[in-house]
């Protein structure tokens, strides 16, 4: 039934706090045109468009894909708009991939974006509700208690988060598109940065970015046109669970565990730590690296921090994680998940430039959203599945 799906074009914008030089249309076109160019294709070659972004309140445009129809060359074509909170960039890519896998289209353009500077992320994420009292301060306020719970439960050394942040910000120096490029970054700089939502420090927090990411996905028939070899989609998986219920495990959510399990099964992976060469995972606050290492089955529960500590997740480690600098270095929320998926594909296409992991053949892209409840993941490889 399922056709093979290949990533044949990848594009992203330069991510920054304020892309004052472009409109929303210009931002998404910048990424889309780079993806088309990478695939050696033009607008007319695209059969359908799949758009993803997080809450519409960021830009104050309701269902902005309608306004973007022209900018995405979508007139006369099918256009879908996905929204699954923070995981949306990943789920958008998965919807696009399933259009190819189902044999419905030959080439699909998928784009995810956020232009957060049009408003204020803290405001848009926590619009107050009448009759309720707002005591959770944005995403940091929500996730910080979970991090404290992880620290307490695992007994991880207190500087684990600092080490993650330092690694990702150093990696970002090798990524020309990254938002935060801080050559002066050091352990002390991260450690001495102010606590925002104690235990999360300023330098352990993702920025608020404007940015977009786009990919051209193709059927096997139409795959061999671009200059770079395709990345083949080996498996995709999505899982969701409710926001809050009695007995819920918030630190190591079951939805994430089961999503990873299904993903590895579909991809024929039995030993993820050994078989996956590089991973791009959604780490908006430094401590989520060890938390997700456990959730994804790379480390036993309570021991994810050791991977950071032992340098396993470093660019030259056994399982390099977030070689692009990750969400900690660029966070246009709606696009962040797709950036993870795209960076994974760039690695197996040998396209990652200075942050390329030598000889990467199998890569994981991961995104999560909501209250650690929405998960989307894919495995891409240089070889056909």
């Amino acid at each position: 039934m399922a056709e093979r799906c290949a990533v044949v074009g990848i594009g992203q914008t330069h991510h920054t706090a304020r892309r004052d030089d472009v409109s929303i249309a210009g931002l998404v076109r910048e990424a889309a045109l780079r993806a088309l160019e990478d695939a050696a294709l033009d607008w007319g070659d695209i059969d359908a468009v799949v758009v993803g972004k997080a809450p519409d309140m960021f830009e104050g445009v309701m269902m902005p894909e309608l306004y973007l129809a022209e900018a995405l060359g979508a007139a006369g074509k099918p256009l879908l708009r996905v929204h699954t909170a923070g995981s949306v960039g990943g789920s958008t890519a998965i919807v696009a991939a399933s259009l190819i896998e189902a044999g419905i289209h030959e080439r699909v353009l998928t784009v995810a974006f956020e232009k957060q500077s049009e408003s204020n992320a803290m405001w848009a994420l926590t619009v107050s509700t009448p009759l309720q009292s707002t005591v959770v301060a944005g995403a940091g306020g929500y996730f910080s208690p979970l991090i404290r719970g992880y620290m307490r439960r695992s007994g991880a050394p207190e500087d684990t988060g600092i080490r993650v942040a330092l690694k990702d910000r150093k990696n970002a120096l090798k990524n020309p598109y990254a938002h935060l490029r801080e050559p002066e970054i050091s352990f002390e700089m991260v450690a001495n940065s102010p606590m925002l939502w104690d235990p999360i420090r300023f330098h352990e927090t993702c920025p608020s970015s404007d940015g977009a990411c786009a990919m051209v996905l193709s059927s096997e028939r139409s795959a061999a046109r671009g200059a770079h070899p395709p990345a083949w989609v080996h498996a995709t998986a999505m899982r969701s669970e409710p926001t809050q219920f009695a007995g819920q495990e918030k630190i190591n959510p079951r939805a994430g565990q089961e999503c990873a399990k299904e993903l590895y099964e579909k991809a024929g992976i039995t030993d993820p730590r050994r078989e996956i060469d590089v991973a791009e995972i959604y780490v908006p606050f430094s401590w989520f690296e060890p938390m997700w290492m456990e959730n994804l089955g790379f480390a036993p529960v309570g021991e994810g921090w050791k991977m950071t500590y032992d340098g396993v997740t470093a660019l030259d480690g056994e399982l390099p994680v977030n070689c692009s600098g990750g969400v900690l270095s660029s966070n246009p929320i709606g696009a962040s998940g797709m950036l993870r998926f795209a960076e994974a594909a760039m690695q197996v296409r040998g396209q990652a430039g200075e942050h390329q992991v030598e000889g990467a053949r199998v890569a994981l892209g991961h995104a999560y959203g909501g209250g650690s409840q929405f998960f989307s993941m894919w495995i891409v490889g240089s070889a056909k599945p």
Partner: protein, 349 residues
């Protein structure tokens, strides 16, 4: 193409203003659709449609998950679109062989805000939205373009409204139903000329859910599954001044791709929130005078935003399953003045 069918459908009673919140509206509807399908949870895939702007609160779909039954964790996705496109995404998953069953739901609570004003936030944010044109006024621009192009009259609009609300008398879920005299309707003042109030949809709150199943699973679940023989959707440019508003080329193309013309059509459920849009859609889909259009009363009788398109598919499927129709066409729309359209062809055998 895999054989996929709608095997059950449920909807709330669509009322002007719901006291219940989205989860409270949605949960009984989801339960009903699931029970009617006879398919045991978990579904292989779940997909929903909604938009945050109706209530002015981000992440409404996140809480709605409470009603869906998401424990143990489920494979799930959400479109910020009408639920008809959620159905499309679920259909694609089944086509890709990644699912055999899917739960699809949609909900919209429009009563908290001024809906025609809220919908102005859909428009180009630089050159149109700052003028705050309301959705009714824009539909009226389209109505006039159609009237003047075709030489039809406002009576043709009132007749659609009267017929829709007469049909809705048999629909216990409708917001507006009853017998209206065309002459009396035409004596009313314009709301946004050339549209009168009766040419416009009621603003209401509601939800809908349905279950899709493939092949033998569908045959086991339902005596007479409503098989999806074709489904396609297309979008047009957003700029109203770059389109021919009197026509719907995206519906025409989607209709051709979905295979509307491959056989006779008994019933068509068209998502035409404004009376003139029914005429435009009929023409674009090539539906003749013999087609029973909107036996449910259509969106002119109940238009819960984000669910009304999915409801068209559910209503068409229901008529296949109960034997009233052999072949039906369902249509959903999104965006100002029919910018985006989906067409689905359903058959009983």
């Amino acid at each position: 193409m895999r054989e996929v069918a709608v095997v059950s459908f449920a909807q709330s009673r669509h009322v002007r203003r719901e006291a219940r919140n989205e989860v409270e509206i949605l949960m009984p509807v989801v339960h009903e659709a699931v029970e009617r399908s006879g398919i045991a949870r978990p579904f292989d895939f779940t997909c929903s449609g909604s938009t945050d702007f109706l209530q002015g609160q981000p992440f409404a779909f996140v809480m709605a998950l409470d009603a869906a039954g998401a424990w143990p964790p489920i494979a799930e996705s959400h479109v910020e679109m009408d639920g008809a496109w959620a159905l499309y995404e679920a259909w694609v998953k089944i086509q890709a062989g990644q699912a055999d069953t899917a739960l699809v739901y949609a909900f919209g609570k429009s009563s908290p805000g001024d809906l025609p004003e809220v919908l102005s936030r859909q428009l180009d944010p630089y050159v149109v939205a700052p003028l705050w044109p309301d959705a009714v006024s824009l539909a009226a621009l389209q109505a006039r373009a159609w009237l003047e192009k075709t030489g039809r009259s406002e009576r043709d609009l009132a007749e659609v409204a009267a017929r829709s609300r007469r049909s809705a008398k048999a629909n216990p879920h409708a917001t507006l139903a009853g017998d209206y005299e065309v002459a009396k309707l035409l004596a009313e003042p314009h709301l946004a000329a050339p549209l009168r109030r009766h040419d416009c949809p009621p603003i209401c709150d509601g939800a809908a859910a349905l279950v899709l199943a493939a092949g033998d699973v569908a045959r086991r679940a339902c005596k007479r599954p409503a098989w999806i023989r074709g489904i396609d959707h297309r979008i047009e440019p957003h700029a109203l001044g770059a389109r021919d508003l009197a026509d719907s080329p995206s519906t025409r193309l989607a209709g051709v791709r979905a295979g509307v013309g491959k056989g006779g059509v008994d019933v068509a459920e068209l998502h035409a929130p404004f009376a003139h849009q029914e005429w435009i859609l009929r023409e674009a889909l090539g539906l003749g005078a013999g087609v029973d259009v909107n036996p449910s009363g259509g969106a002119l009788s109940a238009n819960p935003m984000m669910a009304a398109g999915l409801i068209r598919i559910g209503e068409a499927a229901r008529r296949i399953s109960d034997g009233a129709a052999r072949r039906a066409v369902a249509h959903a729309t999104s965006g100002p003045c029919l910018q985006q359209n989906l067409v689905c062809v359903l058959e009983g055998a």
